[in-house]
Amino acid sequence: MTTHPANQQFDVIVVGAGPAGSAAALLVARAGLKVLLLERGEYPGAKNVSGAVFYGSAILNELIPNWWEQAPVERPVCRRDIAFMSPTTAVALDFRCAGAGFATAPYNGFTVLRPKFDRWLAAQAEAAGAFVLTSAVVDDVLRENGRIVGVRVRREQGEIYGKVVIACDGVNSFLAKKAGLQREFHPHELSLGVKEVLGLDPAIIQDRFHLTDNDGIAYEYLGAITEDVHGGAFLYTNRDSLSLGVIGQVSSLVERRKRPYELLERFKAHPAVAPLVRGGKLREYSAHLIPESGWAMKPKLYTDGMLVAGDAAGFCLAAGLYLEGMNYAMQSGLAAAETAILACQKGNFSARTLSVYQKNLKQRHVSTDFRAYRHAPSFVNGPRLQNLYPEMVAQGMEQIFRVDGAPKRKILPLAYRMVRQSSIKPGQLLRDVYQVARAYLW
């Protein structure tokens, strides 16, 4: 009681107790440094929404061995489906793996409920020695001689000082903007996700999704599912509930004047989805922005006295086959923590010292992944790949399977006819094929 924590200078101040912030605080605390983890919610996770599949099991396992035994996880994801939809049909690619690393330790990914998972992760940081303070919203950075030396919490005497600030304050990162590292976003760079958690008996989930024991499945949907809004949908199994939602590009929602929750209702009513969600009881509705443009909206990642990680840095890989954020958030948080620890050891917090962050991000495969897939988002999240082609595939399959006495067509002429009937020009199609190849193949 005699020492006033606010009077003390912290080595590191982490803003935002999501996966990036809590992982960063955990690592910094373990290095024996004084770290403050600030969270604006009533508890860590109170403001956080994801699908949510956490594909960072192996990463977290390095920090907390066998973490899944103590963490509030729902189901390990052992099946992944990618479905192409037309208004009445669906074609799915069904991946199953009961083998090592998916259904067994260290597992590939788990479905989680963020308010529970994030709260647990922050508690791990706290147990490691981090000072976790909730109900503390950060409004601005503090500067001295041009460098960032702390943050201002929106409370009386809210100035608090730290040698390094790590901004993990999410997609809307006010901090990155205040620090002059991030620009304002365009509506085409972000997507809005709306989501529901539907309660369902675990036995029904097992039967309905053909799951063994506690295994789980992740469905992702492309095509006509969001009508003409650029986007997709998902459905994940939790222990006794389903998480499902629709994602739509903000600019596209604006243009089409679509209300996101109405798209969600239509998604649940789709003939391929309705049987999966039947009998589900709504437990919570939520919404969140997703920094889908990845590399294109990456801020400047560091400046004198500050680093940016997680969604705040745009580290969310939304590129068709991939829909991953929490793992990159955690990796970037760890990379930022390693950088901050090094800076504290050197006693130098200049941008030059903190530039090691870039190397650390590369080592943790964050920047390399985002660089490799830098062409994917702008294209994949466009109308043709996300909506038109998947719908055409679904319609094509319908024609292939339909037996109505008409002569059977071979696939190539069928495809030719479909392309001609659509609005796509052959040149455009070729360019798209090239772009898909460039985005995913090499």
């Binding site: 009681m1 009077n7 000072f131 503390a136 409370r155 009386e156 009881k281």
Partner: protein, 290 residues
């Protein structure tokens, strides 16, 4: 002046949901908070506290209630005390107030006790009155405003159907405050950080000098629940000669004749109580004592 505030750790009513799978209240989804009326009470206590005064907060509740007391300390309360004992079963208001009274005595009785008038969970509204019975102090309930001048407390009360009343009592006294009078202030950052790991003193039965027998009260039986107004004796047709306002007023009163009250200005409290009982018997609310 020393002020005590009683705080209750309550479930947020908007988070109480029935799990459709089990048909039971889904405990995992319930979030807890400081009872809103108690929050007002605490803020008023902090505003009232003179420079040499103190505000001490009390709560009867499990370990989770520590967070609430820490919030109160962060907002500016001088001391906190939590009462709990694993031997405690369900917390009927009479048990809670027995514990609170004992806790208030342990800390040396204050000059003023502020309570929220009603909690959002049980909402019996009986705690201030029961506490007054334990301490043998005056109590004013449904308080919306009050001021203290030279040891006398003047309180404005909100009664049913828009009526207001003013009461005056001498300190020490207990007030039951209405919900939503004021918002609790935001704690400063240094205070918020200071209380984060502040241990809250815990008092069990032994520390309070109580035995389990002291908390044993005969079970109460609820016989009937009735709306607190007499039944209309007839279908009422408003007088067509009156103005619109008069007719609406007549319809609204549903033909119940005469709510005219009577102000008891003279007599000892005992005589006044007898007069009230006589009035209630006459109107048929009570049976004639035999």
């Amino acid at each position: 002046m020393r002020i005590a505030v009683c705080l209750k750790y309550v479930p947020d009513p908007s988070t109480i949901e029935v799990d459709p799978l089990t048909g039971m209240i889904d405990i995992g989804r319930v979030l807890y908070m400081m009872n809103p009326a108690d929050e007002s009470a605490l803020e008023l206590a902090l505003r009232l506290r003179p420079p040499d005064g103190t505000v001490t907060v009390f709560s009867v509740g499990p370990i989770e209630a520590d967070r609430l007391l820490q919030d109160a300390l962060a907002a500016g309360a001088d001391a906190a005390l939590r009462v709990w004992d694993d031997a405690l079963g369900s917390l009927k208001p009479i048990v809670t107030t027995t514990l609170l009274a004992a806790a208030l005595r342990v800390k040396a009785l204050p000059d003023l006790v502020l309570c929220g008038g009603h909690s959002v969970d049980r909402g019996s509204g009986t705690v201030p009155a029961l506490l007054a019975e334990h301490l043998d102090w005056p109590v004013v309930t449904d308080v919306t405003q009050f001021e203290i001048q030279s040891g006398r407390l003047r309180a404005r009360r909100r009664l049913a159907r828009g009526a207001r009343a003013e009461s005056e009592v001498t300190l020490p006294a207990i007030l039951g405050l209405e919900t939503g009078l004021v918002h609790l202030r935001q704690a400063s950052l240094p205070n918020l950080m200071r209380v984060k790991y502040t241990p809250i003193p815990l008092y069990g039965l032994e520390e309070l000098g109580l035995s389990p027998q002291d908390l044993h009260f005969p079970a109460m039986t609820l016989h009937e629940v009735m709306p607190p107004r007499p039944r209309a004796r007839m279908m009422f047709t408003p007088d067509v000669g009156g103005s619109v306002q008069e007719r609406v007023a007549q319809i609204m009163s549903a033909g119940v004749a005469g709510k005219a009250g009577k102000i008891l200005e003279s007599g000892t409290p005992e005589q006044q109580a007898d007069a009230i009982i006589a009035f209630l018997c006459q109107r048929g609310f009570l049976e004639q004592p035999t």
